[in-house]
């Protein structure tokens, strides 16, 4: 039994507990918001310039390859946001902390948005390159399932009147849906499909030219900053809405 990891875990968790106080979280959110918003705007300006103007065209796909800079980061975010949502749900289930539940709730529509962008741009990219808007291959199907999981998660939140019960039911569903994440990631390796296998995060390093990798990474950074900005915004709104409903209830029951 080594004590060190547990001590580190305890230290992080006590630090996290300080931020779990909604008032502290709101103050932190107000302080972070301008930074993440301007980072997002700056990365989008630079990233879009490189993606649309300053990067070379593909020798086969010509300008169509530029869809990649919108499509691939959206796919990464669709998976990443779900992983974050599931982690927050697990934290909410274990430590019963409303802020973790609320961040999972706030993240879900953003993740669903990224998934939709990924599906739509994928269809627009597939039409000129594969000759079809949609094929039922493993990668496309599993991402579509991910989209439905996001929708089911959001619908489950809406279905309960009591936010505490809604949070726990939705958290269980989010954790059940985690089985889909490895399927999406490895679908291109397990099945021999039309969608190409991973070409950026491979053991041999990125298999894509640096002139195209740079705009891709810039756009990925921009998407991430966008997610953080909108998440902070939505989380603030959720906390304030929760407070408002508590106040309203207090006034209704004298």
């Amino acid at each position: 039994m080594s004590g060190l990891p547990w001590a580190a875990l305890a230290a992080t968790s006590s630090a996290m507990h300080r931020f779990a106080n909604p008032t502290v979280a709101l103050r932190l959110a107000d302080r972070l918001m301008p930074w993440s918003a301007s980072l997002c705007a700056g990365l989008f300006v630079v990233g879009l310039y490189y993606a649309l103007v300053a990067s070379p065209i593909d020798y086969q796909q010509r300008d169509t390859v530029r869809i990649m800079y919108v499509h691939v980061p959206a796919a990464w975010m669709a998976l990443g946001v779900y992983a974050m949502m599931a982690t927050a749900s697990a934290v909410g289930l274990v430590w019963k902390h409303p802020l973790a539940d609320l961040s999972a709730k706030a993240a879900a529509p953003i993740g669903a948005g990224f998934t939709l962008i990924c599906l739509v741009t994928g269809a627009l990219w597939g039409q000129p390159t594969w000759g079809t808007w949609w094929v039922w291959d493993a990668r496309l199907t599993s991402v579509l399932i991910l989209f439905f999981l996001y929708l089911g998660y959001m619908a489950l939140w809406q279905a309960y009147d009591d936010p505490g019960r809604a949070a726990r039911a939705a958290a269980i569903l989010a954790l059940v849906g985690v089985v889909n994440l490895p399927v999406i990631k490895f679908s291109v390796d397990w099945w021999n499909t039309l969608h190409q296998p991973a070409s950026v995060f491979t053991l041999q390093g990125p298999k894509i030219d640096p002139s195209m990798l740079k705009p891709l990474m810039l756009m990925a950074g921009a998407y991430l900053a966008f997610f953080v900005t909108v998440l902070i915004y939505r989380l603030k709104a959720e906390i304030l809405a929760r407070r408002a409903s508590v106040l309203r209830r207090a006034r209704a029951e004298p």
Partner: protein, 221 residues
Amino acid sequence: MRAFLAILRRDMAVALAQGAATLLSVAFFVVTITLFPLGVGPDPATLARISSGVLWVAALLSVLLSLDRLFQADHEDGSLEQIGLGPLPLELVVLAKVLAHWLSTGLPLILAAPVLALLLNMPVSGLPVLLLAMALGTPILSLIGAIGAALTLGVRRGGVLLSLIVLPLYIPVLIFGVAAVDASISGLGARPHLLILAAMLAPSLVLAPLAAGASIRLALE
């Protein structure tokens, strides 16, 4: 173990007593399948090609429609709460109820499937694999369905929500169930697809009762 068997026996007795309800899901299975020759046209070659998919989709929907029987009635009359107070952990209660649900829904579907497959002109060589794939696949449907049924206990308009939650999770079973039958008909081995179905059944036997048990505990609060 005695408590487990008691719940299994009780649920089977309830299912048999409401014989009509059990037969209804088989009747739904049959009616849905007869719609396809009417909609697609009676061409035997076309029907043979889509038969495996039609059978699986109809089975999926029949199981989905029977899921509200799993916990809803017991929740409404309070017996679920009584069972929850008993010695058996809720996870095992779920497993017993899922087993009873499969015996009263999944098994009749499997028995009806070969006849309907012949009606759809499926080659006889595909029938053994169809039975095997359904024997592996329908328990997964009941297990995953139990999670959805438990999550939507006592929720307004739970039925629509249940299908939104459960159907996406059913898609893998559908894909490999159909792939197994098609592979055996076209002379390729169905073994890999059946193994994947078995590999989905094993973890869902363990994980689905955990998730459904937690959701029921939530509904009982």
